[in-house]
């Protein structure tokens, strides 16, 4: 912790003006949709017949971000009537601009895929199925971007907690997105075999997320910003997102996979916890980041020369 002078304890930085429920909700949905597009494309490529249900539900689930996401993002603008100005430039230095275009691309491909899926479900035509298969690869690629760019959006600011661990934060977000999508698809899955595959994916993603969480916390301690997690949002991050939302479902899923067929309830409970944890992760990181910007002893510590990137 920084011990030197502050200016009457006043903030040295301004916290983000984002509404953490609205924007955090978007970040969660973006991850869920991106992950769903990815898992559905992989399922279709590897097990097209056996996992057809998961493939179909994944294509529909992917529509959450295109349908709800823009509403949340526009709601959070202070001048919402000018939302279209987001589309007048494309800037590689601005993850918000990168994300705008990723969301556009994802919406186009996922939208075509869902529409084609709908056509083949309802009308029984064959060619829409091929169309859905053609769009699922670009949708999965854009989905991977959608699931992770939001971490870059936070990392590319001067908010100490977000800037202190750019890499592990992105791994956490990406893994949490895959876990949430696996959990959501597992909840609706009727084939026991596919559900086991989905649960195993969630296990891998949750384990990755927990490892990245540990790496993040180590970076926070090294940069001297770990005090930002002492507040209420920090407790939500530690107990809610990491404990009940990642470690607990990981244990439940491992148990349910070991028990085999009779463990449907365990899998369901784990899936619900994973989804809640994924949402809480985004909101708590946003809230704790704002805390870190408000507290001068943290921001002035973070901007000490020993935290400069090595060149």
């Amino acid at each position: 912790m920084y011990q030197g002078p502050t200016y009457y304890g006043r903030a040295q930085l301004k916290p983000s003006p984002f509404n953490n429920w609205v924007v955090g909700g978007y970040v969660f949905l973006a991850g869920l949709s991106g992950g769903a597009a990815l898992i559905s494309a992989i399922a279709d490529a590897v097990r097209p017949i056996g996992a057809a249900g998961a493939v179909r539900r994944g294509r529909y689930l992917a529509m959450l971000a295109p349908l709800v996401g823009p509403l949340l993002l526009i709601e959070d603008l202070r001048t919402p009537s000018r939302f279209y100005n987001m589309l007048r430039v494309a800037k590689g230095t601005s993850p918000m601009s990168i994300g705008t275009w990723i969301l556009m691309a994802f919406s186009a491909f996922a939208g075509l895929g869902a529409a084609a899926q709908f056509a083949s479900d309802r009308l029984g035509w064959l060619w829409p199925r091929r169309a859905a298969r053609a769009t699922q690869v670009p949708a999965a690629v854009a989905g991977a971007g959608l699931a992770t760019y939001t971490a870059g959006l936070f990392a590319a600011t001067s908010t100490p907690l977000w800037a202190a661990a750019p890499q592990s934060l992105a791994v956490r977000f990406g893994a949490s997105s895959v876990a949430a999508a696996g959990a959501a698809l597992s909840l609706a899955e009727r084939s026991a075999r596919t559900r086991r595959a989905l649960d195993a994916i969630t296990v891998a993603a949750l384990a990755t997320e927990l490892a990245a969480t540990e790496a993040s916390h180590r970076s926070y301690r090294r940069a001297g910003v770990d005090g930002a997690l002492d507040g209420a949002w920090g407790q939500v991050e530690k107990i809610g997102a990491t404990g009940l939302g990642a470690a607990l479902p990981l244990g439940l899923l491992v148990a349910s996979l070991a028990l085999g067929r009779r463990a449907g309830r365990l899998s369901q409970a784990a899936s619900l916890a994973t989804l809640a944890g994924s949402a809480l992760l985004r909101m708590s990181i946003m809230g704790a980041g704002d805390d870190s910007a408000r507290r001068p002893e943290i921001s002035l510590r973070f901007s000490q020369p020993d935290n400069l990137p090595r060149v």
Binding site: I42, T148, G152, T208
Partner: protein, 294 residues
Amino acid sequence: MDMHPRALEQSNSQFGGPIPNESELTAGVRIEPGKSYGFFTDTTLCIGCKACEVACKEWNNLPADNLGLTGQSYDNTGALSANTWRHVNFIEKAGVRENDLAPFQSGWLMMSDVCKHCHNAPCLEACPTGALFKTEFDTVVVQQDICNGCGYCVPACPFGVVDLSDLDGKAHKCTLCYDRLKGGLEPACAKSCPTDSIQFGEIGELQQRARERVGELHRLGAEEAYLYGTPGAPGATGDLGHLNAFFLLTDRPETYNLPAAPTRASNRVVPSLFSGLAAVAGLALAAAAMFARR
């Protein structure tokens, strides 16, 4: 200060309009597009009169933020905000001079803070609409007809400068008097500063003047004087480049609520995106393996 020879031509009040290239008379510099302009704020000259704050509010038509008292020395402004683009810090320090007066009688540090108009400005790089741009005078300005109030520039700024206004839902900050520069006028704060603590000019020339001033102060025995925001100095760290509004300080930066070593936020975009994508790619491979299993 010597009078500019052209000032003699302007002995009478004029009502026809501004004096052409008036900045030549008031700041000794002609304002031309394509050159870099900025502020050199010499805190050793600041007397805390807040003329800069007032001039800024007057010229830019900015409402007051706070009419109360903060109890923090003479600083009742508090911080830079959407409505406050110059802010005078007041720091009362003990032990600055060899006497036994109370700090408020002898230990003043005062500093007129402002947007730094960073060379690689994080606010500008973060702006997703292109509302924030570099002007022909190498300053950083928010175009009010484009800003949609997303607020992403606010956490991007390493100095806590730019801010959203509740009144109009747009981001606001110092424009280095873009409108005045276009009309050949020195920015309002610099023009109003009675001690020339705020000096406006071309960056190269200002930096030269600032280095000389530091040398002069060192000769006078004020060895703690140093520059903040010139190339290679504190404040111009982490790939930010130099700051077009830079400062002469006499205590560590944190005393003035300035970061010792700020960084360029956009340098974190690529490492973050690539690690995230790599992790998702790895999980995708794992997912393929899970589905392939019997």
